[in-house]
Symmetry: C2
Subunit: 328 residues, 2 copies
């Protein structure tokens, strides 16, 4: 089943208003959720929406909280998210980073006490749409064991890097675990094995069973010791710059809320960017393929194709989840 | 055999003067090479020194070239390295990024036409010693196939993230390949197999043979498709921000020179950093160990131990390479 973008956005908005969102906040938040599904990231669009609603009902996400500027110092700002909706706080922060970069060439915004931003790529596309290089990352609850350890003590801390481009932005959106939670859930609900080990089961064996890994919360970091180190650094940066909760503190709660995030924008200053970017993409994509049926793609390349298709034909939905949202 | 730091530095300086370095540039460059060995990164200290000398003799590295500021725009600077020694250019850029961060809270310096910076961590420690969060990365010649491709078309683009800390800075220094070239060379010269596949051999099979991977120039990126995407983004950022050579351009030459780099510093603004950092490290290191004989370490932890030992007992050297340097 496929649902038109406008219908999905309107349904999300209706539900959000019913749980206490103001009209304008419901509209903005519904748009982000619908756009995530529109762009093919169903795990952080429709499929995640019921969880988000539950978080609001549980009081973990405050629907109408406004983020507040705590400190401005040159091209850096520090904000408190006041536990408001993660997607709205993140949009606000990336807007501020864009404004700082317009003024100073580069800008950095850190926010504490915010909530899950859903698809991190959303804010990369936002920066690139404004003509900016965007970099952002978030910490999470512990779900990755540090290298040499058994217990999950690191987050899989998604990081986003976006470069604006006339022919379609280049947007990397990756958790530092080999598979994001969303991907694990997708493999699990499709009943598929992971193509590569994605973590450890409860017995400590490397596993391709998504359910076993979700259960153990022992996701494998990208590059083993390297992803372990990278995850730690991202948590340090997010926590220190926002003066917020670290993965250690976030994990003390049953639910993941009150996380710390960083948004950086850089203004590309020169005119030759498009030629340089095309040169890089042409070279990268121009080599011999392992499988002639598949192409070498840049991050974000398939997003635009999916977006176009889903806007034309409607957004594919999990019928049970869609029915659940409609019946609220 | 172990050599005192001062002896090693003096030998490097003598050789550099003999190939045309001014006294002050020879001194600064020799110090960086000796410090790299002092900190245990022998592959980019003594062991790399003869290659560096050859690059100077081949005219690829201009010993007395000065980097030049091309454009200043708020908290961003763009420089031309004029093909000078990579370590000196990188030191200069990180100094400028530190100064910009002192003024604006955050600063970004991009440099084109520079050369291999040897150990990237050098500039992370430099930023952290100045009390700054430091982030820097470089592009390289192609040595990693993009995901889905056979030919090396991406660099392994090392990236450094440093967080200052009273009890010893936390400094991540990682190539986006599972093993850096230095590590591959180390395994190769020790005659050891890699503990995990590090790339593909010429037949396209995943391999734990370092020599076969060095030969094929088909290093495996961290996290497979993820490291492939990350490598592309780092090349895009370095090339666009510096308006310099991309991996595509660098690879056209037989030798790797004239690369592009980015240096970012952020001033941590709050007083609570040390407590937050210790909380994160305590939590990360405090979990159950896989092997009771080994601890969970943070990036840079062993560097300080090695530094102390090598300053007390002398720096261990490969005797053949040391003899080669001495005989110059």
């Amino acid at each position: 089943m496929r649902i038109p973008f406008e219908t999905m956005q309107a349904e999300f908005k209706r539900v959000l208003i019913s749980i206490g969102f103001s009209d304008s906040k419901a509209d903005a938040c519904a748009t982000i959720f619908a756009e995530n599904s529109r762009d093919g990231v169903y795990t952080h669009g429709l499929n995640r929406f019921p969880v988000f609603v539950q978080y609001v009902k549980d009081g973990l996400v405050k629907p109408n909280a406004e983020p507040a500027l705590l400190k401005l110092s040159g091209a850096i700002e520090r904000w408190d998210g006041n536990l408001g909706p993660g997607p709205l706080n993140a949009r606000c922060c990336m807007d501020r980073a864009i404004a700082l970069a317009k003024e100073h060439g580069i800008g950095c915004v850190a926010i504490r006490n915010t909530n899950h931003w859903m698809r991190g790529g959303t804010y990369g596309w936002q920066a690139a749409d404004a003509g900016m290089i965007g970099i952002c990352f978030t910490n999470t609850t512990a779900n990755v064991p540090p290298w040499g350890g058994i217990d999950p003590r690191l987050g899989n801390n998604p990081v986003v890097i976006a470069v604006p481009r006339d022919g379609g932005h280049i947007v990397l959106d990756m958790a530092v675990s080999q598979y994001s939670f969303g991907k694990l859930q997708q493999y699990h609900s499709n009943g598929d094995e992971l193509p590569l080990p994605g973590g450890y089961d409860k017995e400590g064996k490397l596993s391709t069973n998504a359910a076993a890994i979700i259960d153990s919360r022992r996701l494998l970091p990208v590059g083993f010791w390297k992803g372990s180190g990278l995850s730690l650094m991202l948590d340090l940066l997010a926590t220190v710059l926002s003066q917020g909760k670290s993965t250690a503190e976030i994990t003390k709660s049953e639910a993941e809320y009150g996380v710390s995030q960083v948004f950086i924008c850089i203004k590309p200053s020169a005119d030759n960017n498009e030629a340089l970017i095309e040169q890089i993409l042409d070279y990268t994509k121009g080599g011999t393929l392992i499988n002639d049926d598949e192409s070498i793609r840049y991050p974000g390349e398939s997003t635009l194709k999916t977006r176009r298709k889903n806007m034309e034909e409607g957004i594919p939905v999990d019928e049970a989840i869609w029915a659940k949202v409609q019946s609220r």
